[in-house]
Subunit: 407 residues, 2 copies
């Protein structure tokens, strides 16, 4: 083994694909015969020396394969925001020296790319030769400069499948009713577009789609509900958690608890309940709201094979790129073609991605236009394709790959 | 074809298996070369002449097979309670004469068995030779005199799988946190026992399980939370929607809207939110609640093959039993053995099932006892076994069998 080692960590919220990217990084490290360490709970593990050699935990057949579909983060996560202080950087540098680290791979969303950017810039400034590379992940699909994000396809598949099933469920009574399904997406509506798939494919029943990119109009919403429930029709409204009023405030923000996370994001929940009450008050028909909640990001039994395979490749290619000497970059997907679907991995300066948000483009905002629906389908459908074969135990429950802290 | 026909209908809430029972009834009718009609929206379709000949809609290869895994109810449902008036019975009798019906199969839960019982008794009283047979279904598993109910296994599988995935998800941060998962079960805790499976199998983290059969104790609940979250451990509490206080009232009932359905059941929701607030107020750690909601009964992509196969058989055998001249009965499962797992179908007087509820037995109420956990596993595990192969379209979305009203 060479004596320059690798460290890898995961950060932000889970996706069904983030362990597949970790598996890709591991595969490349093992193939290259290099020691690879895992830091538990993201950058915090590096600060606190919560670190484990991984090579020994991946020496059995299927270890890598089982990790690919294991939900959430095998190395744990954090929501720690680097303070940009010399003191913190010094701890990180000393830790990297302690483990003889030459390459740091960080798998995370746009907040985590901020961490990658800060560390890479600091290392460059002090001329420290440690390569720092970001591997993107987020179910939200809101990273700029990449065709889509690892994790989005699986979440989109879970949502499209669940909405398809719920549509069957709510249609059993021939009475007017509204089912409001609240979907993750604080500032962007990508996942809610996925909820539109069953309607876009089969325009058989009235639908309502609300995303944060479109200012919420109570009048419009109620008009669509009223139109939909004529003829005793049950309807579904799919809505992003982060719908906004005209003044930019979140819908029902005043009923929230006002909590913010360490990145200053308001803690959201309850748009579904808010709209449920709106319908109850103004229309009075049967109404219920459903929050797809954490199941959107952890239902690995419904992972998209395309997503998991791509996430593996972007992890593998990320380490390859670091070993080739690149630093301060984030890996991205470039789409070559939608039909037949084809992408390649590439990279961009991580500073161009960190803290930025890709919104649903303006040209797509007329969500009830069938040509736009066609374009959205062309974009999303390839990302949800393919089922993942999950190994089961004697009780028919999935076998996951768990990474243990041995000390 | 013989000129005595069959009519079939579905009632109550959806399950992933109720269409499989319909498929079983259809299979037997088609094999027997008998005309079979479907009534849309349960008994209401019979009252309103919303009836369709089904033979013509099931003459393609795979029609029966695709129906087996189609979620919710292909014939729609109702929650109509028969008034027991001569006027209503006369409408039913005239409708049956109109379609030359000799056999009425009703697939539903304990409320629907009440409908079967009333009609069968009335027919016997007036000496009308029409056989009336109930096919049970309910995710709640709360019917008496049957080992389990069709639909329970699939819901249990969805819940056990989802809890397994959520357990991975919530464990990513090393901070104390409580995730409360609210599971269907108004008066019985069967489905919440299924949520216990991942913990019973692998007693690796503190767990909290609350079911309606055990009076809820705020003090006990908070004590368990406090014990669980020491050492910065995230924990999951799985709770039935219908938890009750010492005085018999539902938890948080006073914050409910007071709606009742046509059978007089209080419309429940919000135990999760209630307990979330309880933890927030008394402990103050990170807490969230998740409602598994309609996904529990409609996630047919996670159906149990055992459940769907058995549901098909009980439908098939139900019609066979009716054709053999039985009436006023409900079909049931008798378990021959758990290991190897084996059941047979049988039947009982439907009056013994209607309006009764099977609770989790007293001997199982010490849910933290490992011997009891073993017994519960032995009971539930065989019911969730086997994956269902679902045919997909070009977009990788499931192909369902939809029954249309042709006129």
């Amino acid at each position: 083994m060479q004596n320059i080692n690798i460290i890898v960590a995961q950060s932000g919220g889970p996706t069904s694909a983030i362990n597949s990217s970790l598996a890709g990084v591991l595969q490349k490290a093992i193939e290259s015969n290099i020691k690879i360490y895992g830091s538990f709970h993201g950058i915090e593990g590096i600060l606190n020396d919560n670190i484990e050699l991984l090579n020994n935990q991946f020496n059995q057949e299927n270890d890598i394969e089982n990790l690919k579909y294991t939900p959430a983060m095998a190395l744990g996560s954090c929501r720690y925001k680097l303070s940009n202080s010399k003191k913190e950087f010094d701890i990180i540098i000393n830790r990297f020296k302690q483990y003889n680290i030459g390459y740091f791979l960080y798998i995370g969303g746009n907040d985590s790319m901020d961490t990658v950017d800060k560390i890479a810039k600091y290392f460059k400034k002090i001329k420290l030769d440690i390569k720092v590379v970001g591997i993107p992940k987020t179910i939200d699909n809101d990273l700029v400069l990449t065709d889509h994000t690892p994790g989005f396809g699986s979440a989109a598949k879970y949502i499209a499948t669940t909405i398809t099933e719920l549509t069957r469920d709510i249609s059993i009574y021939n009475i007017p009713s509204v089912t409001i399904v609240e979907i993750m997406g604080r500032n962007t509506g990508w996942l809610t577009l996925a909820a539109g798939i069953p309607f876009f494919l089969n325009n058989s029943q009235p639908e309502i789609i609300c995303i944060p990119e479109i200012i919420f109009s109570e009048k419009d919403f109620l008009k669509r509900v009223n139109k939909g429930i004529t003829n005793n029709t049950p309807i579904i409204a799919v809505v992003s958690e982060g719908l906004k009023n005209k003044d930019g405030s979140y819908l029902g923000e005043d009923c929230k608890n006002g909590l913010v996370d360490t990145f200053g994001h308001t803690y959201l929940s309850g748009v579904g309940k808010y709209l449920e009450n709106l319908v109850k008050k103004n229309i009075g028909c049967k109404v219920r709201s459903i929050e797809l909640n954490l199941m959107q990001r952890s239902s690995s039994h419904l992972s998209s094979k395309t997503d998991l395979d791509e996430a593996f490749t972007i992890g593998y290619d990320g380490l390859t790129t670091a070993l080739n000497g690149k630093t301060g970059i984030a890996m991205v997907y470039n789409r070559i073609s939608s039909s037949p679907y084809s992408i390649v991995t590439s990279y961009v300066d991580v500073g161009l991605i960190a803290n930025k948000e890709k919104k649903v483009p303006d040209k797509w905002l007329d969500l009830y236009d069938s040509n736009i629906q066609k374009e959205i389908l062309e974009y999303i459908i390839p990302l949800i394709k393919g089922d993942v074969f999950i190994k089961k135990d004697q009780f028919d429950l999935p076998i996951y790959k768990i990474i243990n802290k041995t000390l």
